[in-house]
């Protein structure tokens, strides 16, 4: 039978056989047991550095978003243990045969699973393991190939599901094979000079071969003329055999760029594969540091069952990489990013917003008092501060203004809306502001988490060239989002107004509605100023980037629509075409336009600003628009009700307010 150089090779072989023969996987992989990862391993691994998506980040960030993408959430429940991202990543890399049994591939619709010919679970939305998917792997990639030709907008759910699954499986295989090189050994037999350099019958680790082979190659080059052709031929053959083997191992090891580059000028970090290839490209200058790190990884793998030894090796690798990164001036932000994710500012912010809303709701049972005021606003201020600190840390990590991605617009708009609510609260002290702030805080943070989960990609990505300007990001982007924020707030306040009037809540409290209306009006005015200035600034940026002030790009149009609608509202109000109720109803419409501009145009898939296409967002948007249309209709109902004389008092009240303005 085939001689197998190591049991791990056998495992890999078995995997390959499985795939080729289309056999189903054994239910449990043997030798899958492992001691749980201890705190030291996890801590060290967390702050290991990886270059991914054009930037250096902690392994923790990479683990989180990879896990989010595959698994749909940041934890994985096993029978006896709950895995967080970093331990999960450790398993994928160091115990791939075990990780292959984890039910970690989220599938929204089991039809995608039956499409690839694999047995489905009972639940429609469920998680599958790699070993479960393996029999359908070929079919899956074949289908994915076909479906990828279909325009993204025309793909159905199942097609998209298969595509997502295939890309997740590919992502996992990157990890699965990452340590292949560390498991294998290089054996050279025969009578060649190469073989003489490798006397060990059981072979040597790759890192050792990488030191020896180039030396042999150099000797051979110097002496090639003295060799007869048969000998030379044999040498060439032996060499190409070994290179082929190394190349094959390198194939698996190219997934993660975790090793610092050899020279200070090079920005690209390296995967083990690149170190392996580089050794033969520049035989003259041996890459001792690179090979040393490979050896470190090999030892790390060898020590995987011995936590103490593992931690020792990991600490050494960590130290080497950290020192190299520090020397390159690339380490400074890594601990900050670890800190940011570890402290979970945004997570706590969301729950505190929820808590504060409950507190404020409870406070309505009591009379308005200064004490009441202090408690409720503090309840909103604490999560707001957490949110602002979170945004600030992100700015420091990336050395950017607060908004660079759609995800960050959510954080920023939420924070700003809450701030505006608090400002209004301090102006009129009606406890509408704080309550609205808490509600918007909860909703905003909810959207942020949902969106992050849906995308499953790093929310601090590298920017394309045209966005790479702190000046315009700080001015245009920030201002236009402030405009969105005010539009959202105006819409939200209008909800209170319309629903309140509809159910005749605080019917006799005219100052309440007058104040509410003034808040709406203020928000609309704020929206107009910021949208207009932001839109024009956008045009000026475009003029500086492409030489055209206005290009009718969908995102530009969206912003313009907000400006136009606020102008219509204000002119209609001044021309007495609408009064308080009209302002409220049109504010709801303003919120719809803001939603279109903020999220909707990105779904169109055209133009310069079309980033982040996710069909789930489209569904949510349509639901939102329907809901808002219903609300506007209810607003009309109030109008008709009052017109028919049921509520003359209110009509005259609003009339007075309108005149007062």
């Amino acid at each position: 039978m085939i001689k197998i150089s190591s049991p791990l090779r056998a495992a890999a072989l078995a995997g390959a056989l499985l795939v080729i023969l289309g056999l189903s996987a054994p239910a449990n992989a043997e030798g899958a047991a492992r001691a749980p990862w201890d705190g030291t391993s996890v801590d060290l691994f967390t702050s290991l550095i990886i270059q991914d998506g054009g930037r250096l980040k902690p392994m923790d960030t990479y683990a989180q978003f990879t896990m989010l993408r595959l698994n749909g959430k940041r934890t994985l429940r096993l029978e006896d243990e709950k895995l967080k991202p970093v331990p999960w990543l450790l398993d994928c890399i160091f115990y791939p045969e075990r990780a292959a049994d984890y039910k970690q591939f989220i599938v929204d619709d089991s039809e995608a699973i039956s499409a690839i010919g694999v047995a489905i679970h009972d639940k429609k939305r469920d998680r599958y393991s790699y070993n479960e998917l393996a029999p359908g792997r070929m079919k899956m990639f074949q289908l994915a190939g076909e479906y990828s030709q279909i325009d993204a907008k025309l793909r159905d759910r199942i097609q998209q599901g298969v595509l997502n699954l295939a890309s997740n499986v590919m992502e996992f295989e990157k990890l699965y094979h990452f340590m292949d090189f560390a498991k294998d050994r290089v054996v050279v037999t025969g009578e060649t000079a190469l073989a003489k350099a490798f006397p060990e019958a059981e072979g040597v680790p790759v890192s050792v071969a990488l030191v020896r082979a180039p030396a042999v190659l150099q000797d051979l080059r110097a002496t090639s003329a003295t060799l007869d052709q048969t000998a030379l031929d044999a040498e060439v053959k032996a060499f190409s055999g070994m290179l082929e083997h190394l190349e094959q191992l390198a194939g698996g090891a190219q997934g993660l760029a975790i090793l610092p580059p050899a020279s200070a000028e090079v920005k690209e970090w390296r995967s083990p594969a690149e170190v392996m290839g580089g050794v033969f490209q520049s035989v003259q200058q041996p890459d001792e540091a690179g090979v040393q790190m490979l050896s470190s990884l090999e030892k790390l793998y060898a020590a995987r069952d011995n936590r103490e030894a593992f931690n020792q090796e990991l600490a050494q690798l960590h130290g080497t990489v950290k020192a190299a990164a520090e020397a390159r001036g690339e380490y400074a932000k890594i601990p900050l990013e670890v800190f940011f994710y570890r402290q979970q500012f945004l997570f706590y912010s969301q729950w505190l917003f929820a808590l504060s809303f409950m507190l404020i709701a409870a406070s309505w049972l009591f009379k308005n008092s200064p004490w009441n005021m202090i408690v409720t606003s503090t309840a909103v201020i604490i999560p707001l501060i957490l949110l602002i600190v979170g945004i600030a840390i992100r700015c420091i990590i990336r050395n950017r203004p607060p908004i660079t991605t759609l995800y960050e617009t959510v954080l920023f708009i939420t924070a700003l809306a809450v701030i505006m609510c608090l400002v209004m609260e301090f102006m009129n002290r009606q406890r509408i502001g704080v309550a609205m702030g808490a509600i918007l805080g909860v909703i905003g943070m909810f959207i942020a988490f949902r969106y992050e989960m849906m995308e499953g990609v790093d929310t601090m990505p590298s920017l394309v060239a045209v966005l790479d300007t702190n000046f315009w990001l700080a001015t245009h982007v920030t201002i236009i989002n402030a405009g969105y924020s005010a539009g959202v707030l105006a819409g939200a306040l209008a909800h209170v107004y319309i629903v309140g009037r509809l159910i005749r809540w605080r019917e006799d409290d005219k100052p309440f509605y007058r104040n509410l209306n003034r808040m709406i009006y203020g928000a609309v005015a704020f929206c107009l100023v910021f949208s207009t200035v932001g839109t024009i600034l956008g045009g000026i940026w475009a003029n500086d980037s492409w030489g055209r002030f206005w290009g009718w790009d969908p995102k530009e149009n969206g912003a313009l629509m907000i400006c136009i609608w606020t102008l219509v509202m204000l002119h209609a109000k001044m021309g007495r075409y609408i009064k308080d109720l009209g302002v409220a109803i049109s504010s709801v419409f303003l919120a719809m336009i803001v939603a279109f501009s903020w999220w909707g145009v990105n779904q169109l898939g055209v133009g310069l600003h079309s980033y982040g296409f996710t069909s789930g967002i489209m569904n949510a948007l349509v639901a939102f628009w329907l809901l808002e249309t219903v609300l506007m209709t209810l607003g009309l109902v109030i109008y008709l009700r009052e017109k028919s004389g049921e509520q003359p008092a209110h009509a005259s009240a609003s009339g007075k307010v309108a005149r007062a303005n």
Partner: protein
Amino acid sequence: MTITPKSVLNFFSSYGLACVVLTLLLILTFLGTLEQTQHGLFEVQNKYFNSLFLVHWLFDTVPIPLPGAYLLSGILLINLICGAIIRAPKSWKRPGMLIAHCGIIYMLFSGFVTYHYSTRGHMTLYPEESSSEYKSFTDWEIAITDIGKPGKEYVIPGESFLKLDAGQEVTFHHAGLPFDLRLSGICKNATIRKAAVDELGAIDGVMIQELPLEKQAERNIAAAIATVDSGGTVRQGVLWGFSETPMTKGPWVAEAGDSKYSIDLRHTTFEVPFTITLDKFNRDLHPGTGMAANFESEVTKREGGVERKVNIRMNEPLRHKGYTFFQASWGPENAQPGEPLFSTFEVVNNPADQWPLYSCIVISIGLLIHFLQKLLGYLLQESRRRTA
């Protein structure tokens, strides 16, 4: 109701007109945005935004006639002038609004100037190449030059013949030219192929093959059959817009009278009064990705013997003599490593280049004054209410 100057002024200065015009503009913007998912930007822009009137097909079945954004902007401008300036409250109670409206008028006016008086095109250079002209992305023209006297060009703008169908023809003449130029077989987008022997309709061994219009208008390549009639001698040649690329040997040259004339169908070409040489093109990628972090062209500008080295990069254009050079793109997209890359500059000559910036400042100041005024009023009222 009689129409008096006052009633006309009332109408044009009314809030109602403002509301209606703005609402129509909103609808137009919305429809024009949605339409972009179906049609190219160029087409949508011309239909919705650069037009007087248009018909929108709702769900492709219901025709809705609408005024175009060009017309609406005009009415809005009148409305602004009448309402916010002429009929503005004579007192200075609301200075902010007056300032802001002036700013908007200024902005609309700069849009008008840009639309009518700016030219736009691209200059594409490989390293070491120089040029002092830029070419439109979408517009075509025919330039007729006596190749013995290259200093003078007779130009036929594309719009004067490209609107014609392949079946129609049109003849051009000029007193300075010893021939009439007849254009036929006009195609807005076409390719050419070698004709079969004796193929019907072949000119000079070449067949023009009409293609459907591209969604991206800049990809269309115009073509036409040119007939040079110099009183008895008639010559025919194929004009094809791709003649500006290196694959062809140049434009058609026809003999007429004692001279030879180059008849060139090309993208509308504009000259700049200086020369740009691309010294070097740099492209930085985000490490480990194919995503461009920055691209930058090192160019030399030569003008009357004076040289100046300039770097043009994203967000940092070169502005000179009313021309602005923007780093627009580069290529070839799938270049092999080490293959030289070309750099494409978008060149714009716009008299109103920086006007929007000035108008933005004016509008911002106006709005700020106005709303601060209102906010202060509200706060005063509120404190009075509380003390009361």
